[in-house]
């Protein structure tokens, strides 16, 4: 098995799985009906992408596991998502800020992945990039609207940005796996996406009347699996419960 390829696919699939799950937690209790529809739609896209990424990861692994096995039967230390996506929903402002910070990265990543030397990755990215283009449009516009809305909505969006700021850096931190895959042209070097990300987000924060916090401290440990936050275990407890409680059942 190509371990670096497997790990990279887990990183892609776990990001979409975990943030898709978080978004799905909003089901039925969104601020307005149009948001209920939009959030469910986005969660649906992300879970669909997860099926493709983890399906491919399972194929690459070649040990007979399925995408569902990877999603439902791994424990916290085997997950490879960045810490940003496992952060709790908080208020709607925190949810939509987390979404924008991820979507902007996700779009840049997918745009490069459509050119991957690994055809199966390029094919998934081509499908996903269309969906994520729409995700960015929506989360960016919502961040701008709420940042530039009322005093209260601005205050809440600023609080969300301040809280999530230290989780941005991990998306761009390259490790040996990333560099091996980037050298082979399979994935982009995440560090190479940073300049475009900063340029795009700078404009959005200005339009949203938000002040990016000083400093570039970044938490890490999610994508390597070394040290997730405490939040991930609770998410998995709920998501994996049926598969764990009734092993071997077919649903």
């Amino acid at each position: 098995m190509n371990n670096a390829l497997f790990e990279s696919l887990l990183r892609l699939g776990d990001n979409t799985l975990v943030i898709g799950h978080r978004v799905s937690e909003w089901c039925g209790v969104a601020p307005v009906l149009e948001e209920d529809i939009a959030l469910a739609n986005m969660a649906l896209d992300l879970i669909g992408q997860t099926q493709m990424w983890l399906g491919l990861a399972a194929d690459v692994e070649g040990e007979g596991r399925s995408a569902d096995d990877l999603a439902m039967l791994r424990d916290v230390w085997d997950f490879r998502n960045v810490l940003l996506v496992e952060q709790p929903n908080g208020d709607f402002g925190q949810t939509i800020m987390r979404q924008y910070l991820f979507d902007q990265f996700h779009l840049l990543q997918l745009q490069h992945l459509t050119q991957s030397t690994e055809d199966r990755i390029a094919a998934i990215a081509q499908k996903a990039v269309k969906e994520v283009t729409y995700h960015v449009d929506r989360s960016r516009d919502t961040v701008v609207a709420l940042g530039d809305g009322t005093e209260e909505s601005n205050r809440r969006m600023q609080a969300a940005l301040t809280k999530l700021w230290p989780y941005i850096g991990e998306m761009f931190a390259a490790d040996a796996i990333d560099l091996e895959m980037a050298t082979a042209g399979v994935i982009p070097d995440p560090a190479s996406l940073r300049a475009d990300y900063d340029a795009a987000t700078r404009v959005v924060f200005a339009d949203a009347v938000l002040t990016p916090p000083a400093g570039d401290f970044a938490h890490g440990g999610g994508k390597t699996g070394f040290r997730h936050s405490e939040h991930l275990g609770h998410l998995l407890t709920q998501m994996q419960w049926l598969q764990r409680a009734y092993p071997g059942a077919r649903w």
């Binding site: 039925g28 209790v29 601020p31 307005v32 649906l44 049926l242 009734y246 059942a249 077919r250």
Partner: protein
């Protein structure tokens, strides 16, 4: 989903106008928003369409209860798609109601403070994964029974909304039955869950058609106006006739010892639900009434700042546009 026990209003208008209106209805003409209509017709429709819309919105909650616990990625995706459809149904129905001169916000306020109802079925809990199957199979099944005839209802915007809704509901029912098949043919624990779900949801599903015709006081005017197309008992009978053989196919037992095919009437004999329980639920004493309303109120109130923020931003944009002109 649908509306139940909608009180229809009498009309005090000019008898000539009323007669001409009734003639149009009898000729199966569609009534459109700008046409003259009796005040009672308008009010009854607002109540019925509003209640139907609220049912779609509150109906997201018992299923949303399982989205984060769906057993596979595919089941999660299907359930998300279904709940998204329901929010979409709510949206078309609120739009249909708006053509009658009431705003979505007004209807929402009436749901939140209890002046308007939603279908009593959503005041029952979803306790196991099999409930996702049983809700699709029985609850969406009962809703379809109610809604298919409403595609021919006299009010144009309602009838047209119902055409699209019915297509999606039949997908919902099929996915519910598919879950039930997996469960009924699964492990002993899964089969037990499936039977338990049927035991709990059977009678509440029968209640969805409303009280027996002999006790249903609001039907005749609504039937004459073609806002209601069939009587409660007709639809209930049709539902049991369709569902009893499906339960048998699944190898599950309907929790009604009196259920038996009656050759003479060409349909099943079956026990009536406990109507005192039905009235308790309608009065607010179902197992989940308080939770459901609290969840909707919290979603509305805690997120008021989001709606206000969006509106304030839109107003700023409009002002900038005007200033630039």
């Amino acid at each position: 989903m649908y509306a139940q026990m909608v009180k229809s209003e009498a009309s005090q208008e000019d008898p000539e106008k009323l007669a001409a209106f009734q003639k149009r209805i009898d000729a199966n003409e569609k009534i459109e928003p700008k046409d003259w209509m009796p005040e009672g017709y308008r009010k009854t429709l607002i109540r019925q369409i509003g209640q139907h819309a609220h049912s779609e919105i509150v109906g997201q909650l018992p299923e949303g209860n399982w989205i984060t616990r769906a057993p596979t990625l595919e089941r999660k995706a299907i359930l998300l798609a279904k709940v998204q459809d329901e929010a979409g149904h709510g949206l078309y129905l609120y739009c249909a109601a708006e053509t009658l001169g009431v705003s979505r916000d007004e209807l929402t306020e009436m749901l939140l403070d209890g002046r308007m109802k939603y279908s009593s079925i959503f005041n029952y809990p979803t306790l196991t994964w099999a409930d996702m199957g049983a809700v699709g199979w029985l609850v969406d099944g009962a809703a379809i029974m109610n809604q298919v005839p409403l595609q021919r209802t006299s009010y144009g915007p309602y009838a047209r909304a119902m055409v699209r809704i019915c297509k999606e509901e039949s997908f919902h029912q099929r996915q519910g039955f598919d879950i039930m098949m997996k469960m009924a043919n699964g492990t002993p624990a899964q089969k037990q869950m499936a039977q338990d779900a049927l035991n709990r949801i059977w009678f509440p599903a029968l209640m969805m058609f409303g009280p027996s015709d002999k006790d249903s006081v609001h039907s005749s005017q609504s039937m004459a106006w073609k806002i209601k197309m069939n009587t409660n008992d007709e639809l209930r009978q049709k539902f049991v006739d369709q569902t009893a053989p499906q339960a048998e196919y699944l190898g599950l037992t309907v929790p009604d010892e009196t259920l038996a095919w009656n050759d003479e009437k060409g349909g099943y004999d079956f026990a009536e639900p406990d109507w005192s329980e039905f009235h308790d639920v309608i009065q607010g004493n179902g197992p989940c009434n308080a939770d459901r309303l609290e969840a909707r109120n919290r979603a509305w109130n805690d997120n008021a700042w989001v709606r206000e923020g969006m509106m304030a931003h839109a107003a700023k944009k409009r002002a900038q546009k005007v200033a630039a002109q």
